[in-house]
Subunit: 354 residues, 4 copies
């Protein structure tokens, strides 16, 4: 209800503020007897953690995860898995200056309107830091998916207008922007570095592909797979749009073009182009699920901006601290995590039909 839980059977509840004691999550509904180690989780957390490269914030946070419950002798027991990540960096000092200021693009104003109280330490609950708990939970979801060979891969399709031109999944983790095209990655890095030097930030596009997803996942009407995925992905702070398959291009197409031609693939009918992005009528078709997300530039920039306070006074601020000049590379693992949460849940829900 209050927005901190996600999923129906595979259900995650997260907690914690940016500069509080700790963040973490409780995952309920994980089937028993699944092998699960700390490393399974830490691996993805390391892909999201700050300070990992020159295109991310210089702030260092180890993001060391602890499993508090739900795993016994290396296996899940069917009871809730609680994961805890202590915050290394709890200094509130950096933030005293912005205590009474509503920063542009941040949730300072809206949280104050909603709750009548604001934890001003680094954004508190509204900080992107909460996504570490999502990534931890997503790592558990991925274990369920991998047991059925379902693979979720996200990557940076574009940064500030520079698009990857080839999609080579094997290079994604070999460049710091997580692009599937090493050559274009170089250009993207240059663009981010220039923005960083100018005290500015840039946006991008993330594409995600789910391979080997069986047909039949998702529910009709309100919980179509596009609906659940959109809910999951648009809950990531910086994401401002989503499109599946041909997406917005569909608006300019004719039905005779957008209806995908059926071809026979070793006797099995398949679509020629997967225009629908692997989902028809809200239910997976068995083709790869494909969608793209618009990621806005980081709101925290050191360039001077006009901000306001509760009294309605405007003033110029320069946001100090160490911020990501581009969020896209660090959001890639968050996108994978949220996608995995939706699909693990859909897989478990599907079992109730048999």
């Amino acid at each position: 209800m209050a927005g901190n839980s996600f999923g129906q059977i595979f259900k995650v509840t997260t907690f914690g503020e940016s500069h509080g004691v700790a963040i973490g999550c409780v995952i309920d509904g994980v089937p028993p007897l699944l092998e699960l180690s700390l490393e399974d989780i830490q691996k993805d957390l390391d892909r999201r953690k700050p300070g990992q490269s020159e295109v991310t914030t210089a702030r260092k946070e180890g993001d060391v995860v602890e499993i508090l419950s739900g795993v016994f002798e290396g296996k899940t027991t069917g009871t809730p898995i609680a994961l805890l990540i202590r915050n290394a960096d709890q200094r509130s000092a950096d933030y005293s200056e912005i205590k009474d200021i509503f920063r542009p693009g941040h949730a300072d104003f809206t949280y104050t309107q909603k709750y009548g109280i604001r934890d001003y330490r680094g954004g508190g609950r509204s900080s992107g830091r909460e996504t570490a708990a999502r990534v931890a939970a997503g790592a558990v979801a991925k274990k369920i998916l991998l047991a059925q060979n379902i693979q979720v891969t996200a990557y940076t399709l574009a940064i500030g207008g520079i698009y990857a031109e080839t999609i080579d999944k094997s290079v994604i983790e070999k460049n710091i922007v997580r692009a599937p095209d090493l050559e274009k990655a170089e250009d993207m890095i240059k663009l981010i570095t220039a923005a960083k030097e100018a005290g500015d930030s840039v946006g991008g596009i993330i594409e995600a592909v789910v391979d080997n997803c069986p047909a039949g996942l998702g529910d009709p009407v309100f919980d179509k797979l596009e609906a659940s995925l959109s809910h999951a992905l648009l809950s990531i702070g910086a994401v401002k749009g989503i499109e599946f398959g041909i997406g917005f291009m569909a608006a300019t197409m004719k039905g005779s073009e957008s209806n995908d031609e059926i071809v026979l693939d070793q006797g099995t009918p398949r679509t020629k182009n997967n225009f629908s992005g692997g989902i028809t009528g809200g239910i997976s078709t068995g083709e790869p699920i494909v969608f793209r997300l618009a990621v806005k530039p980081t709101s925290s920039i050191s360039k001077k901006q006009m901000a306001a306070n509760a009294e309605g006074t405007l003033s110029q601020i320069e946001i100090k601290g160490r911020h990501d000049p581009c969020l896209t590379p660090r959001i890639v693992p968050v996108v994978e995590a949220m996608t995995a949460l939706v699909l693990a849940d859909a897989l478990l829900i599907q079992k109730t039909l048999k």
Copy 2:
């Protein structure tokens, strides 16, 4: 769980198949003492019903709604409101031909994969007909919103690449494509008519604006207002993408551009351009909420297409019957309904914080 309910406090459950006995919904959580009449509901149903103009299907369906419960002496009582719409058109004959065929772009294949059984009469539950129940429920949600002067308006922003160039809300219901620009509406109508004559269909873009939405609605983390709205809107069959405010344009902007300048409006700080689409940190800012949806062309076209059956045999089909050459105009009231469901729910949830 099975996808036929939506909302947390203001909760709608819909039922019914395209060519079954009836469709309808049960709305739970409606506050008592709200004035509600049949006309309040019928009015929006008439905007969605088939056969209303030359750019929609020629199929006629009265869509007459009956209130079965929850209203006493013209007022809601706080108990569930059940709404029923009998299907006038239950002939199954038209569909016997496609009984064993998986139509391109339709849910025939995925439903069979999911359930192992398919109600082949006009798409059954996967038919867009179920949206009539959403519109009925949305009409009740709108009553809650209007009591606080919150107005939800959707309109056709573009059809097949032809964009409205002015946004005049007063003309939306005065043209059959529901565009906010009478002149461009003419061009859109021509485009649809041409597609219809060619046995084809066209896609479009719908924009929705929520005026007078108070600040503070939406929940952080997983139930951000963009997340809930995306869930709601991407659950409409033909919608393939959504973007809020600057949306996908954000991907090519700098932070110094996309961070909206703060200006003083009679002493109150506001954003100059509402780039965020009225939502920051997942919570409404008090500015108009703005988003756009990609609507794909109708999948049912009379042009010949390749289709497959369960045995993996390909064959050419021509889909008979009377179909919408463009879904966009009839989806406009569905978009309003789904938006109203989300906001009415958010308004009620917000009360639990006080």
Copy 3:
């Protein structure tokens, strides 16, 4: 949220008032390919309907059910099953007299306090009439249980202090009080008849037994099987208490007595006495599930009673109309229905663990 839905996967939403247009329910989450006919449902409705014998109200209501959706060619399709029962008796005349009176034992006062509005026609939503929708939904749940040979049987264990002394399930439907002891049934009938003649009513105890329930159903901590069953059963208006297995007797036992002795039954360890009522640690043991319910006497009696109105004036009332002198026999099928809803849901939930 507003209390009109029950269940997690097998989920029922009911609607309708005693003297409104209709009552009914929508059942979501029913697996596809289950054979389901009108007769399956009508059969149980007939066991609950008014006017069935001399110990029930003389009011006649056919309670004819209609299946609106979710069943195609005699089989469930996995989509929501909507069931409708039109109210034959919509006369409001009988109730004008009590319009401003809060009847003792009824929800008139509390509904007014809760909602600020009261549908005074026969209790509206607070009438026991809503249980017909539960029985209809329960009949569908029973089909799922019977497919696995799980049998739910409820019966009248006692009426006004007269207890059944033998438990012969084969005679339950052969006497109008639904007792498992034909001889004692005669005494019970006499007691009820005497109360009826005196314008009074009597209470009773219902016992329910679930045979062939597999071990492993129910969830730990908050959704223990006793918890879910208690929720289900205590939601029946006239039920004021529940106990499982040895129940309240446990309060006077020693651990060495209440811990059930383990015996070998053809090599399989079983409990000798099933003191726990078939549930340990909140999870079914495989032994019969056994519980008992306290049913209060009908609140509507024709004897004179003191009642109050909103102005705080006391007055003597005689409740007219045709009321059940004892609710117990008609609640028996409601108890079965609610038990079946819990177990069908638990069965489906259990599938998500595998």
Copy 4:
């Protein structure tokens, strides 16, 4: 779904095993600006903790709680409150002996049936230890109730057949069995001590009273206040029955007796005897809410008992370790906590109607 969450708006999710790293909970939906300190929570935990007196287990566990999130500068912020209690006693040694044994009265067998894996360390998740997390969450719920002067009080009404004869709430915390009658408390203590010396255990009855509960709480049909409370209370491991107001006595009463006489109390109509236990039609009447619970004797006794293992071999076991000879006194704060959870949730839900 998997049973580790409770509540709709005020929602608690608990985690942790008896001998794992830690137990704890996440509470979502707590309104902002509520004053909350560690002491508020620790106080109730101390009433539940082991080793507090001679009638409880001798095992010592500090149960020191840590607030991880959701509280800023002494006030709740509206974001999730995570509470953590590290387990002091993680030794698994004591339990190796029972690793393969299904102890009578315990969940060993049913957990193995359900999950195919069992955390045998002290019962794991099935241990009563999880109730510490409930008590912590309940302490937060009580703060919400106390802000409206709603008081929840539970006490030991009876131990092994010895009943309190006076109800003096001021003495409850002044005797180690938490009885409201100091004289009878002495007898109860003697009975428990005798059982303890005999290596046995005893059961009891807990009564709970909610004072100053406003009229109008609870929801009709499935979420009647009795239903929600029963769900909450029967989810406590050792509880085997519940009754409200006159409870099982209703089964032997006439309607003219059980219908409570209406009297005028300073011009306001009230019931003379509160037979209904403060709830009519599932909704609070404004009178004190009253219910009683049957608590079974501790299953862990040191007397010899027959137990079985997975291979179906019977053997005599003596359960070692330090166990409570009577659970009732330590369950009293758990009963208060669960009651507080239900009422805090009902209070918040009621706000959505206005």
